[in-house]
């Protein structure tokens, strides 16, 4: 079991299946940017499905790049390929949405409309058994997206979050002791106890 941190904040819950506990695999699956390789586990067709999936999770717009164009699919493929469980889940997820798309719309997932893709993914997200497949893909795509240089550039431009500050440091306002003027005048507030 492991913590299911893929749900919104609230009471802690435990994952009840190996797939729901996929997060346990993360410790061994880091891939450095310089070690990324072209698709390891996904064939070209599967790569196109995941690219469409990634762009549905994080689409381009308003100056932001889409997830696929910044390499999030390659990242997800590389990370998943370092764990038998994650690799199996990745491939099953891709094949599942492709099969569902063909069955319902007569088109592969990548050929579906935005609305059709969103509906398929929304269903998968809420599925009691296969929901962890969606969760895994979301986490990997988000990770790949938010470490890509063009995205970090946009993060800084659009939010003011200085992405290099945690790496290089930054100056901020020093402590101002004059703010404590009132508190310093307050009476003592703690219980004295006989030793």
């Amino acid at each position: 079991m492991a913590f299911d941190r893929t749900k919104p904040p609230g009471e802690a819950t435990l994952a009840q299946t190996p797939e729901a506990a996929y997060g346990l695999e993360f410790g061994k699956t880091y891939v450095a940017p310089e070690d990324e390789r072209p698709a390891v586990s996904l064939n070209p067709d599967q790569g196109r499905v995941l690219a469409a999936w990634a762009d549905r999770l994080i689409p381009a717009g308003d100056g932001w790049p889409g997830a696929a164009e910044v390499g999030a699919v390659t990242y997800a493929d590389n990370v998943a390929s370092r764990s038998p469980l994650l690799r199996a889940m990745l491939l099953r997820a891709v094949d599942l949405v492709e099969r569902e798309a063909l069955g319902r719309h007569g088109e592969g997932f990548a050929g579906c409309t935005d609305e059709q893709r969103a509906a398929l993914l929304g269903e998968l997200e809420g599925d009691e058994d296969d929901g962890p497949l969606f969760d895994l893909i979301l986490e990997l795509i988000f990770e790949g997206y938010y470490r890509a240089a063009p995205v970090l550039e946009m993060v800084e431009k659009r939010t003011g979050f200085r992405v290099m500050a945690p790496v290089e440091g930054v100056e901020i306002e020093p402590f101002d002791e004059s703010l404590l003027g009132r508190v310093k005048q307050l009476p003592r507030r703690w219980r004295e106890v006989a030793a």
Binding site: G27, K28, R158, V167, F175
Partner: protein, 528 residues
């Protein structure tokens, strides 16, 4: 001195083991410390890299079951409110990923049973520990300010408070609007250059490591000096049991060395400093015919009374940017609600600490919003959120415990651990109240919306109470001097020693206890 039999053998090189080893070595004791982890490869510290957020979720993950390195053992969690223990097997122990909030306990924390019919009293008082808080503040380099009216007077910390940034000023304004007591947060993060370490440059997100060593992790504070003083530290040394002589005295341990070979190390005294989970694990693994329920466990208290504090977070969203890329974890904190208030529906109390905001990936994952609204949501919250941390006094209860897990073995066939935790009604009510106060603070500070992480988010940052000290050998594991009631020659000094947890981050207290234990061990070196 017998070269193969040091005065003291220490198990665990974390917050407690480092401080205790240094103190003993500085007095001239010969000390050997066995640590199951290794030195942190500083090139791997996430914040040395642009993708620090991703690294922190993978190999730097604070959960041992996720890291799953050969030096980690599995920890599986249950109970009605399972916690997710955050711990590191490494030189420096769990300080490697800590926030370095260095609070002292209050005098009332040592007498919670007498004052509030809560938990148990400690066998020592605040005054016993105060001199060791002073030492620890000097040795680790605490930044802060003397004069807080919500605690006993104390010497000025060696360094001035850390930079506050705009969010610190915001929290101060919130506290002032509410008329609460507040004070700049004491941190073991050096605000000026100190003893060869460079001052903090406000890189934020301290749990992702500090490449420049401004974060006072035990591997950069106590260990370098302890080694210079002659202490010996053996890493990747996996202890499997404590050895007793025929008289029942602890005389050493068996351990697997870095090459996986069984070794034996003897010493005049053995001190376990393996933390709130590692310590009961080793005691339980050391069960024998004469100690069938585990070593030092005639009271049945080993592994019980597992406390994790009543911890959660409340996040406010502000229209103005919050500089969430900068600053130490804490900024301004309040002990307004620390002591028992008869108007409450719970006893004991909590702190309210104004912290910083979140990072890009974490923000995205928190909301998990995908599709067309993804960017809008991120832009709304990233660099506009700031969090309030609340930490309350958790009740020690026997049913909350740490046990061996023979179903999940480590690389040497040693058992993993299960934890079981169910929050008491008092803790639940206290946390609900704390969330309410934190929400008040956010609104007073100008938040336009507030969200919280629930009453029991499972934060396992503070692991306490599982081999507690006490005067009653029938209800505790060690005495006031950290000597095991049952086993001569065996000492325990770490978070497991704490009978109650107070309502503050415990690292400072854990190290103060370890320093005091070192003095007691040294003073009693000629005793039996």
């Amino acid at each position: 001195m017998n070269a193969t039999e040091p005065d003291v053998l220490v198990i665990g090189a974390g917050a407690a083991g480092a401080a205790l080893t240094w103190r003993l070595a500085s007095k001239g004791a010969s000390v050997v410390c066995l640590e199951e982890g290794d030195w942190v490869d500083r090139d791997t510290i996430p914040k040395g890299h642009v993708d620090w957020e991703v690294r922190g979720r993978h190999y730097w993950n604070p959960a041992p079951s996720i890291r799953d390195r050969e030096v980690d053992y599995a920890v599986t969690n249950g109970g009605e409110n399972p916690v997710d223990p955050f711990m590191y097997s490494a030189v420096g122990g769990s300080t490697i990923g800590f926030g370095a909030q260095y609070w002292r306990l209050q005098p009332s924390d040592f007498r919670a049973r007498t004052l509030d019919d809560f938990g148990v009293d400690w066998p020592i008082a605040y005054e016993d520990l105060a001199p060791y808080y002073d030492i620890n503040e000097r040795e680790t380099g605490v930044s802060g300010l003397a004069g807080d009216p919500t605690g006993p007077q104390r010497p000025a910390p060696p360094l001035p408070p850390n930079a506050m940034g705009s969010v610190g000023r915001r929290w101060a304004a919130g506290f002032e609007k509410l008329g609460w007591y507040w004070w700049p947060q004491d941190s073991a993060i050096i605000s000026r250059d100190y003893r060869g370490r460079a001052a903090c440059t406000n890189r934020s997100q301290c749990a992702f490591g500090c490449p420049q060593k401004a974060l006072s992790t035990a591997d950069v504070t106590y260990w370098p000096v302890a080694l210079e003083l002659g202490a010996e530290l053996r890493v990747r040394a996996r202890v499997r049991r404590v050895i007793l002589d025929t008289a029942g005295r602890a005389v050493g341990v068996e351990y697997y060395d870095a090459d996986g070979r069984l070794q034996e190390q003897r010493a005049k005294r053995v001190v376990i400093c393996a933390g709130g989970i590692g310590t009961p694990r080793l005691l339980l693994m050391s069960a024998s015919a004469t100690h069938p329920d585990g070593l030092a466990n005639s009271s049945g208290q080993v592994g019980r009374n597992f406390m994790v504090h009543c911890q959660t977070l409340v996040a406010g969203r502000f229209e103005e940017p919050t500089e969430s890329y900068a600053g130490t974890v804490g900024s301004m904190s309040s002990r307004q609600f620390y002591e028992t208030d008869p108007d409450n529906d719970f006893v004991r109390g909590f702190i309210v600490a104004g912290n910083r905001g979140y990072s890009p990936l974490l923000t995205a994952l928190q909301f998990r919003l995908w599709g067309g609204e993804h960017h809008e949501k991120l832009e709304h919250h990233l660099n506009h959120d700031a969090t309030v941390y609340v930490c309350g006094d958790d009740e020690p209860e026997e049913h909350n415990r740490v046990e061996l897990d023979h179903g999940r073995l480590d690389d040497f066939g040693l058992p993993g651990v299960t934890t079981s935790y169910t929050m008491s009604e008092n803790s639940r009510r206290m946390t609900e109240a704390a969330i309410g106060r934190a929400t008040e603070l956010c609104m007073a500070a100008g938040a336009d919306s507030v969200r919280d992480f629930g009453v029991a988010p499972g934060f396992g940052w503070h692991l306490l109470g599982t081999a507690r000290m006490g005067a009653d050998a029938g209800a505790s594991v060690v005495d006031a001097d950290h000597r095991a009631h049952d086993v001569p020659g065996l000492y325990i000094a770490d978070g497991s020693s704490m009978p109650t947890g107070g309502a503050v981050n415990p690292a400072h207290t854990i190290q103060a206890l370890a320093l005091r234990a070192a003095d007691r061990i040294w003073e009693g070196r000629n005793d039996g």
